[in-house]
């Protein structure tokens, strides 16, 4: 296992990663996931993401992408269905499931009165990571995200992009095996976006699983191993870009064209 994925858990932490997990090649398995608010937001969704895979979930506004990911992250209780993370039933044992995953939302939620380094120390503490591991990791992350000169400044004056980078560093500092990102590139400038994409690609190469929603289809096209297209709470297409093209009878179409074709078709069917 690569060095930065080796987690040394503090003495109070239960060894979730060892005791609870069953052998399973899927990092995330979702079955019949359903959620309604005023209307049906997610409709009996099935989804399997393999370990070490970069999966992009795309779809029009209000399609149910964020709701799906919030249910997977344990932030929303589904009306029905099952969520399994590395073989752990996330609804029955959320604490064990959360130990191995990280969540980053499109709206960076960090503490204004903490510095980035203090924030990362707090996150590492919450995940029970020993300081000997988390401190160098935090310094390295801040460096690679261009935040090293600001590591002792309180976040209250940070731009949205800087805040997003702090939140992302927080998600990575405890070396999660599954990273769930909801529109992580929102508000980032081109250089920062490239940094973040590089960091995510590096994590995937190291064996980490990433599931990400994005409106930037080019990112999904370039980075994702597989792409899921969600519309009206259901998965309407899924596969590699080549598979998606094949499924829709196109050979040389961009993801954008495919996406529009799929979503328009779905809207017409509805």
């Amino acid at each position: 296992m690569p060095k930065h994925l080796q987690i040394k858990v503090a003495s109070d932490a239960k060894p979730y990663g060892v005791a609870v997990m069953k052998p399973d090649s899927s990092a995330l398995s979702v079955r019949g996931l359903t959620k309604s608010f005023d209307r049906l937001a997610v409709n009996s969704l099935d989804l399997t993401i393999h370990a070490g895979e970069f999966y992009a979930l795309v779809g029009p506004n209000g399609a149910g992408k964020t709701t799906t990911l919030r249910m997977v992250a344990g932030l929303l209780r589904p009306d029905a269905g099952a969520v399994s993370i590395f073989g752990v039933d996330a609804l029955a044992d959320p604490v064990a499931a959360k130990q191995v995953m990280a969540w980053v939302s499109d709206e960076p939620m960090i503490y204004d009165k903490l510095t980035p380094l203090e924030y990362l120390e707090f996150v590492a503490g919450l995940w029970g990571i020993a300081p000997a591991v988390s401190e160098p990791s935090a310094q390295e992350l801040l460096g690679s995200l261009g935040l090293a000169p600001h590591r002792h400044e309180r976040c209250e004056g940070f731009s949205k992009g800087m805040r997003q980078k702090v939140a992302l560093a927080g998600a990575l500092v405890h070396a999660p095996r599954l990273i769930i990102l909801d529109e992580p590139l929102t508000g980032l400038d081109a250089v920062s976006a490239r940094h973040v994409k590089g960091l995510l690609a590096e994590r995937v190469r190291a064996g980490c699983t990433v599931i990400m929603t994005t409106h930037i289809l080019e990112v999904a096209e370039r980075m994702a191993d597989r792409i899921g297209v969600i519309a009206a709470g259901s998965l309407v297409a899924e596969g590699t870009l080549a598979e998606l093209r094949q499924q829709n009878g196109h050979t040389d179409t961009s993801l954008e064209d495919l996406f529009i074709a799929l979503v328009t078709l779905e809207a017409a069917a509805a």
Binding site: W103, M109, K113, G125
Partner: protein, 507 residues
Amino acid sequence: MSSATALSWFARHELRLAWREWLAMMTGQRKRKRAAVIGLIAFAALLHLPAWAVIGRFAGLRLPLDKSSLIVITATIALAWSLMLSQAIESVTRVFYARADLDLIMSSPARLTNLFSVRIAAIALAITAMALLFSTPFIDVLVIGGGPRWLAAFGVVVAMGLSAAAVAIAITILLFRLIGPARTRFIAQILAAVIGAGFVIALQIAAIISYGTLSRFAVLTSDTTAAYAPDVDNLVWWPARAVMGDSEALALLLALGLVMLGGVMALFSGRFADTAIDAAAQGTSSRRTARERKFRTGTRPQALRRKEFMLLWRDPWLISQTLMQLLYLVPPALLLWRSFADSSAALVLITPVIVMAAGQLAGGLAWLTISGEDAPDLVATAPLSASRVIRAKIEVVLIAIAAIFAPLVATLGFASPLQAAITAGAIVVSAASATAIQLWFRVQARRSQFRRRQTSSRLATFAEAFSSIGWAATAALLLAIPVAGVISGLITAGLVAATWKFSPRRG
């Protein structure tokens, strides 16, 4: 659009913003304008009863007054003015830091000096309107009991509002110039707290030192104060004479208020823009924490508690509020110190003051730690059960309360161990009740929304206040009349239980 039209349009815009902000404070962003107005009228009507009890007996006063009466009225006016000034400093600071329309205003082709003059006037108007709202029941009582000459008191309130706003603006802008925008917000909040509480506390301290009592009137009505006070025709008494219907004094006060405000407008409206720009720029620069230190070890709840303590320590509101609570504890502490020498019965008065302060502070702390979570998703996705998170946050509140009040209780223990034990118990119960109420009515919010916390649930706000008062009364009665204390305790416990019954988190 002519300059005059633009100004009147901007004035209307400012008043509309002020009205909507106030309405949002009253209704909690919900569209219940009518209910808010009816509630306010009912509250104002209800306020006439305590107003009658407090100052009804003074309605018959007529000019000329003796020195003692002049001192009492002047001190009351000074107290009201200091409270208005405190409120005004808070409002002015908020305007500088919280207005999101600065870019729009400053990029407009209108003259900034004129626009900011209007903004200064709007601040003064809002402060005066609020003062009129709260003083009306008291003045009504005097008018009903003593005749229309007391209507002049409304004019005095207006003059006080104008002058308080003028002084507050001058103080805030000077603070900006002297110590910079980064420190001004913090210092201004502390200053507002000290000014708001300072006058009452100074009178209490004088009363304790001179007469061994907490009563402020003991000092004001004493022969010594009368002997040192200026003669009855001195200018110092003009506000008191104006309140009683002296039209010459009233005209002078109003003129003085207007001149002060006009002077501030002339002097500072140009700098208002610079100050606002500095304040806005402060929002984009960050304070550095110079200290380089190693990550600390500990359990997950410890990490959570450490974060909460760090955020509480860095919260300017909390610092100013705690300072205010501690300032209010200075007189009872002084009384306690004096009571070592002569075992005064007034010592009992310390207990309810301490218990009340503990309950109020615990309520604020509990809101900040439990509801005011700025990264709810992070905490919710951490491998920690929700109950452990809540437990760690409650521990933070109780540890903070213990740290603040333990020294006082320990000192009390030397004077009266029984009273110290009862006070300690009541502090724990009062703080626990306030925390529990915050827990039952918790609504996810950002810490910066603290000022509007009461709008999320009126029931929780009143329950928290009544619970603090109830436990304070219980502790005092347990010391004086134990049976009454038990009854008071049962009533307060019933109130807390009823609050739980109506809370959304029941079960």
